[in-house]
Amino acid sequence: MKKLINLPDNVVDEALAGVALAHADLVRVESPNIVVRKDAPRQGKVGVISGGGSGHEPMHGGFVGRGMLDAACPGAVFTSPVPDQMLAATQAVNGGAGVLHIVKNYTGDIMNFELAAELARAEGIDVEAVVIADDVAVKDSLYTAGRRGVGGTVLAEKIVGAAAEEGADLATVKALCEKVQDNVRSMGMALTSCTVPAAGKPTFDIGDDEMEIGIGIHGEPGRERRKLAPADEITEALATPILDDLPFQSGDRVLAFVNGMGGTPLLELYVVYRKLAEILDGRGVTIARNLVGNYITSLEMAGCSITLLKLDDELIRLWDAPVNTPALRWGV
């Protein structure tokens, strides 16, 4: 295992200490490992928090700040955080207007957030939760854990955070988050595996001529293993199921998000974006906004994911609204 770390068990704590030092103007880091917006709680403002395993940086801690998240709860690498964290974060950001939990659809995340929500409600805090499940690689079904929450989470956090910043109430913020969930779809692929520090070796082995299609964000293998293909083919393989699932139709305006899994150079992400734009153009879908870069990652995994969000004027306005976080910043 080759990593810039000290003891594997300390990597999350040490990284959070670094975040606190680097971004003291935006956030504070409190026990038990929560990243809180510096000026939280803001009286009368709905608090928006999220959380999940570490190893997806900049998500979620990098999205804490004005116009996005009020707090983030980073768990151990790829392990959902514990209820104590979500409870503390909920208390820290509660300004009397209630708190929204944005939860990615993983059994562990759901259960830990639910336990925290119960404890917070017992303290009289108004808590609502919205589950993001946008990964089209997983068939949606009542009998399984359902779809994973992936790239759509980043877009939901930005848009919902903007509405909360504008003073929308809890019901409105929750409904908006559900609207994003209803209109966003994603799919990812991997060229390489990644190594969980405490595990010490790659999560899976893969040949030089192979790739995994339909991965999540926890370094796990995907739905299927295929022969390595050119970027254009891979882009097609990801974009087509996304487009057909919602479906996205001619005349739709979308936010096109090409995300790197952590180990893929920006140069390659733009090669993918170029092809994605061509595919959407061919379908009569207009890219009204875009995001290209490493925003929801799996440690050093090489690969990418594509996320499409169907936009309307409201979503565009909220996407363009000012945001000031370590990882996303504009309009300020």
Partner: protein, 210 residues
Amino acid sequence: MGITTADFTAALETFADRIRDAREELTALDSAIGDADHGINMDRGMTAVREHLPTLRDGQAGALFKQVGRTLISTVGGASGPLYGTFFLRLGTALGEAEDVSPADVARGLRAGLDGIVGLGKANLDDKTMVDAMTPAVEALEAGAEADFATALAAAADAAAAGRDRITPLVARKGRASYLGERSAGHQDPGATSATILFEALRDQLGRAG
């Protein structure tokens, strides 16, 4: 006389030791169909539990297991944290204030714990989770605990192992493994494996008592 809190403490220590020994194995199983952290998660949790045991050894069994549950919920995370945490919380609640715990109480308590897991995780049999190891184990204990506790505990451990192995060929429908679809078939479930370790620890430590 029944099973003492010291007996339960010994069982938890054995569980903690064996989770530590199985840390790599459990993580390797989770690498194949999950996210390579089950051994790390369980070891982190049971290491925290171990620190509480000395102070709890002399108290009530109910208090012991409730503290174990709270500790797991606060330190494990992932799916297994709330699940095992709820399991021990419910077990502790079922044992209540009782100073003297009988084999039948243990069987009832473990059933309550299992019900807690099912209530929280909504897993059915054959969804390929820890539930498939725990369910037959608890049934075996309910069937024989009063007649012969030691034998029933041995049957429970065997039933857990059998359940763990029975579901290996199945396609997972709950937890991360379900994302793999067909690819999850043929892989042993990490949670069913740690659950089997738990029932083996109960067998080896409580068998002498009761």
